[in-house]
Amino acid sequence: MNICSLAFLACVSVVVIVYHLFAHARERQLFLTTVNYLFLSSLVPNVQSWLCLLFFIGVTYAMLSSMRARPSYNSVLVFVGLIVVVFLYLKGYLDMNEILPADFQLGPVAVIGLSYMLFKFIHMLVDLSQGQLAAFSFLSYANYQLSFFTLLAGPIQRFNDFQRSWEDMDAQPADTRETLQSWSRLLTGLLKMGVLAPLVEQLVVGQDAKSDVLQRFAIQFYGFPVYLYLNFSGYTDVVIGCGRLLGFQLPENFNCPYLARNAIDFWNRWHMTLTHWIRDYIFMTSYKRVAETVPAWSKPLGYVLLFFSLFVAGVWHGVTVSFAVFGIIHGLGVALNQAYTDALKAWLGRAGLQRYQKNCCIHLLAVVVTFHFVCFSFLFFALDVRGAWELLEAALGQLMALASTVEVHWFYRASLIEAGLVLLLAVLRWRRPASGGRKPPDGPSGGLRPPLAGRWLYALVFAKTALVVLLFTAMWLSQQKDPVLVYMRF
């Protein structure tokens, strides 16, 4: 079932109604298990894929049970190593068909959300080895891994948070306003993912190869990041809304990423749950070990580890040259960002650095530069290396040629428009609280404006539902292909 469809919307409303008609937590758990199974059934294409999925869940549960009985750091390393091999094999990155017997050779399989399941498993394994994990059963573990609102592309929820909601099963008295806000968020997500994102995608993908190269470049350069944000953040809004309707508080994944002032800030706002996972289980773990072992080298090695962590984030998207380049760009960006900050602190001192960071002109410039840095990196996300390079080369060539003319070309006019947009963004940014990971995330206002009265919220939800239905119907009638979640393939 496509998560961005009216059928999904109808199913969610039925699921929420039926779910809340069950009085006992156990009944709700079993009902949710059934719903998760049915949703999964619509995605698993064949028996072999089912077997792979069950194998993965079974093996990881066995490893967790073993860790629960005898926690050990060495076991963590062994289990992680083994499951990574299994993961690489199931994803098709590791061809073992020559060494495996015929009965075990892999045919065409599609295991949705495998990389997200891997992250969740590793987090559980590490936390369990350190006595930080809540009690779990096979039922709660299976539902944690396969819940329909995190299966496709996250957010990567921590098990303890899931377990709390799983045990509670939304037994606390609920607020109509909160429910309406969750619905509003879900519907906004559908509009972003199902209407806005395809419109932008059409603009980016439907470019005529014979059109002006600068125009093609500008549309690809600015359009794809917008499309990707609408697509992925729209999905996140949908699943967070779903989760909240069933009493599950999912973590946020986005926080105005294109208003980031540097590469590190960007990754604290874009796909936040992935960033936090990499920060906690790769970067912090490795840096702590380095800082304890060789404290004299901790600073330079810290930069290397920052680079490595973001490189991993890049190649996680796909084992291709273009994603490796994407990872290298962001690895370098983050490492250099940290080095730059340290250098500034050494040069300006603490007070000077504070003044520097609070300077609004510098902030504005930083946001513009970071946005363009991100757009540049996304060229390698959307295109292969050769395609991106050819487009860049052609665009730069034309730009150089134009720079020698005095005529005000449309590109310069577009630059003026862009500067205006950036100024507008700066004004909007200025009205929001300061950054530092404590900004209210995308979604409910979080107290920034007075809450809408109940009946107005009802009206808003009704209006959004009608809008979603009308626009989805219009797009369906115009034979648009169904919106696809980009991050589902990672």
Partner: protein
């Protein structure tokens, strides 16, 4: 525990190289200059070494969540020291 609070405050001053830091319960990462991920780990290592405690990955990560502050950090340390 005043002893723990004082020792943690000294560690903060040492790690962030700012003798003017005064630990408050409502203090967060945004209130201390340079409290980024690298500095956070350095702080954790210093607390572990000087107070003889060990933090789990989840505990380190939880400290960075919204709603966590120096007060919750101190309570965690005090629970481990006891």
């Amino acid at each position: 525990m005043p002893d723990v609070r004082a020792r943690v405050q000294d560690i903060f001053r040492d790690v962030f190289d700012d003798p003017a830091i005064v630990l408050r319960d409502d203090m967060t990462a945004g209130d201390v200059d340079g409290w980024d991920s690298l500095a956070h780990i350095n702080l954790i290592i210093a607390v572990e070494r000087k107070l003889g405690v060990k933090f789990a990955t989840a505990e380190i990560s939880r400290m960075k969540e919204p709603g966590q502050n120096a007060g919750s950090f101190l309570r965690l340390i005090e629970a481990k020291v006891v």
